[in-house]
Every structure is written in structure tokens, then in C-alpha cells.
């Protein structure tokens, strides 16, 4: 019999000692989001970004098109080279289109950073274990994809350096943030992508 996933059906009730709590860790790494343009994945990572940045117009959140966040961030980073563009996504969302790491690696826009919040679960669909819970390392995939600045964050003490790297301009950076599989609560945001697109453009371009 081939190796099966560990059966997992619910989030952890509390953050296990030694693991990072996702909301605080994402907030710590993003820091001041005032000048950032942020594209998020779905579900958990969207809520983490929303908690850190607030419901600001310069945040584009996906509630579908899973796997699109990183490539959207690339298009935005190439279009707005003077702005810091951050993709905040999850392990499942990124794995769905992991080839984008190679597309980004060869383009290497210095104003693009990817923060992958890795809880090793598909939280939205019932907390099933993801590949990263079974030995798959997305940071190595990012390195293999040609992204030069890659780091994995597992401890509180690593957050400040990672935050600095995220804002650096030596090329695209990638941070794999390993977090506890907790459910810190869903946040409301309008899911109308057309509305969110328009207010994003007005904020960035001064017009739609």
C-alpha cells in the first residue's frame, strides 16, 4: 500500500508549543503595509493578509481561481516597478500552480516578494493534510525555480530578518512561513472581484 496522508479533519484547538501562530507571524513579517500592493490566495492566507493590512483598496483577494495569486503578483510587479508587491498565499494555493515559481525565478522582479503561509493543511475543505505535511518543501521548490532569496521561518526569532528580506530590492524573495494548523477566524471582505479591482486601480493609478 502506498503511503497515505495522516487523517486530519479539524484545525488544532491551540498553537502547539514551538510552532508559530499564523496571524501574528504574518503581521510580524509584513510589518507596515501602507506602501505595499498585496495579492492574496484564498481562505486562510486571505484572512491573514486582511488582518494585517486591514480592508484597504491596495489588497486584491482571491476567492476562486486557485493557483493564480503568484502570477497575478508577477503581472502587477512588472506593471508597477516602483511599488513593493507582496503575494500572501498558502501551501495548497501555491502547489496548484507551482510552475509559476520558475516563471517568477527567471523574471526576478526586485519589487516582488512571496509569503507562503504553510499550515500543511487544506483548511477550507476540511483540514486534509497537504503535501507539505508529508515532506514536500516549497522553499526548495522556490530555490529550484531560480528564486535567489529564499528562507524558511519556523521561529519567532526569525521573523525580523524575514521581514527585512521581504522589503529588500536585490531580486524576488520568497518566505516559507511554517505555522500551526489553527483556525483564527474568518474575516469579512466583499468577494466582488470587479469592485475590488476597480478600487485597487483607483488607489494605485488615481483612476480606473
Amino acid at each position: 500500500m502506498s503511503m497515505k496522508p495522516t487523517l486530519s479533519t479539524a484545525p488544532a484547538k491551540a498553537v502547539e508549543a514551538g510552532l508559530l501562530e499564523r496571524r501574528a507571524a504574518v503581521k510580524g513579517i509584513l510589518g507596515d503595509t501602507k506602501d505595499m500592493l498585496i495579492v492574496t490566495g484564498l481562505a486562510g492566507s486571505k484572512d491573514d493578509a486582511l488582518a494585517a493590512a486591514g480592508d484597504v483598496p491596495t489588497l486584491f483577494t482571491l476567492s476562486g481561481a486557485m493557483g493564480a495569486a503568484a502570477a497575478m503578483g508577477l503581472g502587477l510587479a512588472l506593471a508597477q516597478p516602483k511599488k513593493r508587491v507582496v503575494v500572501v498565499t498558502g501551501d495548497g494555493e501555491l502547489l496548484m500552480n507551482v510552475g509559476t515559481l520558475a516563471t517568477i525565478g527567471v523574471m526576478n522582479p526586485p519589487n516582488l516578494s512571496i509569503l507562503c503561509v504553510d499550515n500543511a493543511r487544506y483548511g477550507e475543505t476540511g483540514w486534509q493534510e497537504s503535501h507539505t505535511g508529508r515532506g514536500v518543501d516549497i522553499a526548495k521548490m522556490a530555490e529550484g525555480g531560480g528564486i535567489k532569496q529564499v528562507r524558511t521561518v519556523t521561529k519567532e526569532t526569525e521573523i525580523a530578518d524575514a521581514s527585512k528580506m521581504l522589503r529588500g530590492s536585490n531580486g524576488t524573495s520568497f518566505i516559507l512561513l511554517k505555522v500551526a494548523p489553527t483556525e483564527p477566524g474568518k474575516l469579512h471582505r466583499d468577494r466582488d472581484a470587479s469592485y475590488n479591482k476597480t478600487r485597487f486601480r483607483v488607489a494605485v493609478l488615481g483612476k480606473n
Partner: protein
Amino acid sequence: MAEAPAWQDQLYDMLREFKVTQFSYVPDAGHRTLINRSIADPDVHSVSLTTEEEGVALQAGAHLGGARSVLLMQSSGVGNCVNFFSLIRHGRFPFLTLVSMRGDFGEANPWQLAMGQSTQPVLEAAGITCLRAERKDEVLDVTRAGCTMAYQSEAAVAVLLTQKLLGAKSFSTE
């Protein structure tokens, strides 16, 4: 390789007139002039994709940042894009793709037939308007119409460069 026809260079010049600055593609013989021109042009980004759906998301991201992008793909790539078309349709993003057709007029590789014949129905089911170019004397007008609809009316448009226009790839006749 035969010399590329003049209209392909004119097509590139037209896209630049429309201020397209992001050319994304999975390498394809039908688009080689556009791809090569984008590589040689210092004023545009030439984005080689691992799968065509990245180009759909790239275009949406470009629009968020006020830039114009075009996706160059073969008809088989349309099948790779389907779920990402929901981003275009639901978000009412402008979208332009130039599709070099396989599996239509005179196709000799049976593997190309299924996706080639599904291409236009799939695009239309996803809410993307298809404009077909079958002759050299219409390809520039058809593409200009597509550019105008996508970049000025913010519509989602696919220009299908058919095998009548491009010629079918030849295989041994045995």
C-alpha cells in the same frame, strides 16, 4: 524554418501601438515572430510561462497595475486556462489572447483534433468573444478589432489565428 510572413511583424507593431508591454507565452511556432520581437524589444517584458493559465493571471495583475498584457498561446493551451477564465469573467478584467490554432483546417496529427475542435466552444462558454482570422488580408483588421475591444472596451477577446491562415504543420503522408 521558412521566412515569417510580413503580417506577423505588423501584428507586433500593432500591439506596441496599443501600448502592450507584457507579452506572455508558452513557446509556439505560430507565434515565433511575436515572441522573438518581444525578446528583442528592450521596452517590453517577455514572459515565458510554464503553463498558459499563468498568462491569464499575469494579465489580470498587469491590469491592476495599469499595464497592458497579451497572452500568446496555441489552442491546446486554452484547455489549461479554463478555471482562471473565471477571474477574468467574474472580475470583468480586460483580456486579450492570440491563439494559434491546431486541430482545425488540414490537421495531420490526430492528438491535436480534440482540443483544437473544442477551443472556440470552450472560450465562448467562459465568456470570451472569439474573432477568427482566416486570411492574410484580414488578420490585421481582425486583431485590431480584438485590441480595441479588449483594451478600450475592457472586453475578453480571443483572436483565433486559424490553420487556413497559418498553414497546417506537415507530417509524413504515410
